[in-house]
Symmetry: none
Subunit: 195 residues, 4 copies
DNA sequence: CATGAATGAGAATTCATTCAT
DNA sequence: AATGAATGAATTCTCATTCAT
């Protein structure tokens, strides 16, 4: 599941690329911009990555991997009751999405830019993450605190969460009415659960 | 509210551009692709639009305008009870988003590509549309069928709906488990309302 | 010597073109700019002129013709003594050059943009004008008020005069230290004559 | 006084660009023509210069700098008497203008094509050159060998000299009646001085 | 005469990528 | 590893010109 090269230097470069991809979009981020942000010249970039695609692929892998790791950790630490587990997942998702505007955002918003080969490689990883959500939502429905079609609920919930990056700026707590990402997680869970 | 140039020819071109922008993304849609899809040569495009930006601007305006018109019509025809009005808005939103994968999708997903001037021009239009949602959600909260922070509910609901274009293909009813966009609207309303 | 078409409408258009060619340069003046300044659409321009070259040709012809006419008039009216005739020529030259920043400037500064055919057509006209200068300078040398190689004197004098359009703005009498174009003519004659 | 980038490669390219700008004019010299003359592909040009403007700016800077350097050298070596100094300046000016049809011609004839920023940067350099002329002409007037308004004399003299590039071809000594540029300098000085 | 739409050749510029040093 | 120079294909956009209406 891990890629050919996971040196710390490379990890650092991937983080920088992730930020640029989120700020500017993959298409509009030039190799020269990436290199400059990394403190090297554009020619040197190709010693670390075969091509621009590979950078995107690495970013998306990193983003999904982190999302998966954090979700697992939060679930492991969470109260085993369904509502708490739902909350843990929402919190984890928002954390990877908003806390450092990191690779997870790129994973979601630049997925379409992956070429076929990369996509194929990354689908299992993404599915592993989604399966976590599937479980938690199934449990919530089984417990009667959420009603409806599990598939649709999952899609709607992820949509609601993913869309936050379009309107929520975690560093601007005043502009956001003082809402923290924790508030967001709680509000979302409240919105879809009853009793 | 309509802009500089509204010839029927232009409208037709805007429709074609909308489709390409949704299929391929604004950045990856070249002027030549647009021209070819329109049946003209790339130079001729600039007879109708000053630059590529202006095409995007026209597409987004058209998309938001249509969304606004359809939402108003649905609200006017809907049962005046809060849940019905919520449902009408969701149905209207999904219709403009999914029925012909039209300009409304571009309006949502390519908004960031607008330059400052266009953005400024279009913000009021977008706000008018969002105000419709505001009203309907306020009514639902007042009626006690939805609970929570009206602002967050609106953002979550719009996120859930907007994200549908990423996973729902209305022309593939089998792959989508036979779900129609009407089903989606109903499910969303069910998910967030109680009693 | 006159061109196929000398309608007053055409003359007017030529005048407008002359102004634009001087302000912006022939290469940078687009057919659309010309048309707009003329109050018509670019397509219509080609009812009046075969192509852009023909406009330039007409402008240069007009400019040289006017310069020639005015020079002849001034010489006819001038005191027959050599210095007075020299002065009359300088005054005439500066008048066509500066008084209405007209076609004569274009004739001098855009001559290189003429195609071979136009150039051939206009060379005799330009030579007729230069011959006037030749006479006047020959007379001045014969009279001993100017010394030197007649050919070089003529080139130097014309250079000095033609270059005025690069630094002298006749409508800004303050910025120009209150110098009129009449002052310029006098100063030039004074500079090259003795006794 | 020198600018951002003065690599020898760049200097060489600037020289080639100067020649093309003089032969063809800035507007009609395409980037492809420049690249071909430089033996590279058009894309590579932008490795050395940000845009076409910057090439022009570099050419004009180079041209004025050389003119300034040569004028200073000639003045330093010249007999200190006013006529000799005038002659030295004329000779220097014609040398930079005619000897290799170099950047100084472009500096004079394409100045208008500079954008505002470049112009601002180059004005002091140009002024430094003109101040040399100012001094020499002031001295000549003070010595009584030239009469008139120093400002106008300077403008006329520079006009006469600058215009030579329009009619004088130094490599065609037959067509030019065997006149060398040294002859031109002498004739000009003779024309404007007395006794 | 005038127009609006269209054209096609070419303009400057961008950019991922290569490669000798 | 890193770099600077170069590439070539593609991109947006310009513009003189044509032509049906």
């Amino acid at each position: 599941m891990t890629l050919e090269n996971a040196s710390p230097r490379r990890k650092e470069l991937v983080g920088i690329a992730a930020r640029l991809f989120v700020e500017t979009g993959f298409d509009r981020t030039t190799v020269r911009m990436l290199a400059q942000a990394m403190g090297i010249k554009s020619g040197s970039l190709f010693h670390h990555f075969r091509d621009k695609q590979e950078i995107l692929c690495a970013v998306i892998e990193e983003g999904t991997q982190r999302a998966l790791a954090i979700a697992r950790r939060e679930l492991a630490e969470a109260d085993p009751r369904p509502r708490a587990r739902l909350h843990a997942m929402a919190r984890a998702h928002l954390e990877t999405l908003l806390s450092d505007r990191n690779a997870h955002v790129a994973a979601l918003y630049e997925w379409r830019r992956l070429d076929a080969a990369s996509r194929e490689r990354l689908v299992p990883l993404r599915d592993a993450y989604e399966r976590l959500w599937e479980q938690v939502i199934d449990e919530a429905i089984a417990a009667g605190i959420v009603t409806g079609d599990a598939f649709l609920v999952r899609r709607f919930v992820l949509g609601a969460l993913n869309w936050t990056v379009r309107w929520y700026n975690p560093s601007d707590t005043v502009g956001e009415g003082g809402r923290t990402s924790e508030d967001l997680a709680r509000a979302l869970v409240a919105m879809i659960t009853r009793e």
